[in-house]
Symmetry: C3
Subunit: 373 residues, 3 copies
């Protein structure tokens, strides 16, 4: 890549260090971002049968996601309406028919309705519908359940689907990978001692690629130049001539996913789906990161590697493609943790600087500040 | 039990979730409740000989309780008057004659008087009586030392003795068990990750008994109906026909304590002695819980099983009676910890509801709010 | 020692307990004391060759100290000027030529100048000198690098050198030990769960010596009287007749350091170099404590035992002299931790008292309060 999409107009400022360390700022982000926007919670394929459930931390809430009798996914606050016990404390599980609170046996259907409780005959006037589980909005897309804790959720089509389309420059770009039909090949969780915004900023730029990602740069040589695929609409980074696939050793991956356009072959596309998803598209698999911000300086990241069902069904060895981005993850998160340590310093009191290949991060900062305003 | 003492007039509200999580609320409870009311600190029998001492956390203070030369128990703030060192850091111990601060050797008699210090000759005008240990009010009852950190303690007879009497409906009810003559058979400590008020509320109601206490309900079948002994004045729950004693296997316990009235036989009585004691009376033993609230979400509970001296002296095996309430404790505290998890949720922002068999908990809430006002 | 330099005019007050526990007070101390005064950071001898570095916590900052090409020591805030990553996360290390940020490869010379960064050609107008590492003032004295984070550091000669001279009553007293030429024989680190001011107060007085320091008093019998060397200008405590050296077993130490005055032989001198250094001088070695206050109730102490180069070069066994003050340290820090426990008590709400042999501590309190005002 020899030409830059940006004029090198100088350095732009970052956010001040306090934005990455202040517990009160983080509380406001939980309230105004993670509990107010669409949040990618769980892979739908993790809940295959009616009665299966998952619990997930969204902002400061534990959310319970169930597969109901009718096959649909439903989401609720994971709290009994009687005395407030957490209904399900396990990360995942399976019930036979209903969700029963283990404290006083108030019992809810998989769609949240209160269906039974001891001594309810003593309360003949009770309006049961007023004591069902508290509903949480849920949408399925790309094979994931996205939830929103807001009373009036923002438009899913605009803020999620549309943002990916405009990032990739094509409304159908992601759809051609059929992510909803892919199957989980590997999931790795990372506990990163860094603010979630440092992780977003890291994902958005490639100025660090030459320094910390030798394996990635070997497959995507243009990354050595420091320009992120994400700084240009619709740009995909081309594989190195010698790379047969998106693997740690340059070996072949698996067959090109059926619906892809030719210009999607042998290329890596990436998109940040705000606030907490990173999407990575290569011809034979999709990598999706979900972030779970837990504290100003702690973020849980779950990374899924998704493959065609035939690949997984055949028992193929996915480790050389998993290993490539697993190394990238470890390299990135180490850098983010090192950066978190500097956020407290007076040297970063007014923040640092963005070089031209990082200038597009400014737009992310504006988005965050706009939501907190 | 087939009739309810309460008209099912509907649901009553609980306290809001914040009451169980807010550190500032907890600080006010420490100040206005645990450091202001009578607090059951230690078993007198744990300090048998002059010079024996115990240290115990009362509210935010370490309190030192000693057996003085004259055989009386005395309580002090566990702080040297010179430079503030904690006098005794061990939970229990024995001194020969005096309490000597290990830092600069200021030395106090077992009744708190300053009796020696190095170089005191340099301070000829020193009024030693002004530098004795800070006294804490102490009363003995039921074989326990109760202390009060208030400058002007409330009436012990009204707030402790009287409250038990009115709960049990008989001024002599507890006295007939002669708890001061009983001997410790077993003590088990529990670190419960829940607010102390959740533990009180749990102890006060039996709506959960059928769900989580199978062993208890087997001995006390009326508990299956959800009505707590405590919701009625003077009511004792009757043992199951097949239960020979208050044991985990229904086997016989030990002989009926000598002074009991006939209506106290084959029955379980319970009382909450606010703010931090649970009293359980059965014909052959007494179980007493002391709570030590340590944080908004952390409470230490010490549970004593007390038996007739002859039982303990004979080396009888008390495990089948201990095991019954030990299981109840573990079941209850797990429920309280599960409930603590829900207190942060927006679903519990305005609290939950009390069913009719829990309505008497409202009076506890009023008592707490009254003391904090 | 039979006469006191102080008239026993009674008791003086200490600081209130809150001064030792309040996080906000500690924050102000970090700002106004440890980040504003000269702070003894590292032993210069720990950075022998150009390219060697040390990182050290000064107040709330990580400071990077390097030995530059020209042989001089330099200090910087340990933060990359680009995106704020911590440059060096190790406690010590060695670079070949430059300091290179491991995130985006911004590269700084050992004197802090920005010398390279990827794609800097895109920023033709960049003033590199504006993006060098942030300088920290540094002075060398007694073989240590002292740093100051203040924009305008106070006078080193007055606040450090002069304060030691006036404490020892002689501008040349410390110089005769040639501490800059001594060599580290042993270093022991202690994590003390106590406020730094308790550690200073403990070091300043000897009223506790008879109680907790039997080995020290055996060598310095006058300490049994409770009078600290530090309560008198220029006073050195004389060795016991039977003590051949300043050792745990009274055995001989090593030869008297060459430049000492006769009145410095067979004597122990001590000085507190505010805010965080304790200096101990005996004829054959120097012991220097550096404190690193980390929280209101946590202080890291590093203690160095320094000997003549010939002693260390000859491989002499220094353990009997190290063991003496190591025991003193453990005894003192245990006392400070015990005292920290009492600082929260209402019994210490208005503080405790200083006996006449502790009265000089009042001046330290005034100094602290003056800097916080």
């Amino acid at each position: 890549m020899t030409t830059s999409p940006l004029t090198p107009a100088g350095l732009l400022p970052t956010l001040p260090g306090r934005a990455y360390t202040d517990p009160e700022t983080f509380r406001r982000e939980q309230e105004s971002i993670f509990e107010a926007r669409w949040f990618c919670a769980v892979r739908a394929g993790d809940l295959l049968t009616p009665g299966s459930f998952r619990t997930v931390t969204v902002g400061r809430e534990s959310v319970l996601i169930t597969r109901a009798r009718d096959g649909a996914l439903r989401a609720f606050l994971n709290v009994c309406r009687h005395r407030g016990a957490r209904l399900c404390t396990e990360e995942s599980g399976q019930v036979r028919r209903n969700l029963r609170c283990p404290y006083h046996a108030w019992t809810y259907a998989l769609d949240g309705r209160l269906v039974a409780a001891p001594n309810l005959r003593d309360l003949p006037g009770l309006d049961r519908s007023a004591y069902g589980l508290v509903d949480v909005a849920l949408r399925e897309w790309m094979g994931y359940a996205w939830v929103c804790l807001a009373e009036e959720p923002p438009s899913f089509d605009e803020t999620v689907v549309g943002s990916v389309a405009s990032r990739l420059g094509d409304a159908d770009a992601v759809g051609r990978y059929r992510p909803e039909d892919l199957v989980l090949g590997r999931r790795i969780g990372y506990d990163v001692r860094a603010n979630w915004k440092l992780i977003v900023e890291n994902f958005m730029e490639c100025y660090h690629c030459a320094t910390i990602h030798p394996e990635l740069v070997a497959v995507l040589p243009e990354f050595a130049g420091g320009y992120a695929a994400q700084s240009q609409v619709g740009h995909g980074a081309e594989f190195a001539a010698g790379a047969e696939g998106f693997t740690v050793d340059g070996g072949p991956g698996f067959g090109r996913l059926p619906g892809l356009a030719d210009e999607q072959d042998r290329r890596y596309f990436a998109a940040t789906v705000r606030p907490q998803v990173f999407l990575n598209l290569v011809p034979d698999h999709v990598i999706l990161h979900r972030m779970f911000p837990l504290a100003a300086d702690l973020t849980r990241v779950e990374c899924d590697w998704l493959y065609a069902a035939e690949v997984i069904d055949a028992g193929a060895d996915v480790s050389s493609s998993v290993e490539l981005f697993h190394r990238v993850n470890e390299q990135d998160f180490a850098a983010c943790e090192r950066t978190q340590l500097g956020m407290h310093s007076r040297a970063y009191g007014r923040g640092g600087v963005l070089v031209p290949t990082e200038h597009h991060i400014t737009e992310f900062h504006r988005w965050v500040l706009g939501l907190l305003a």
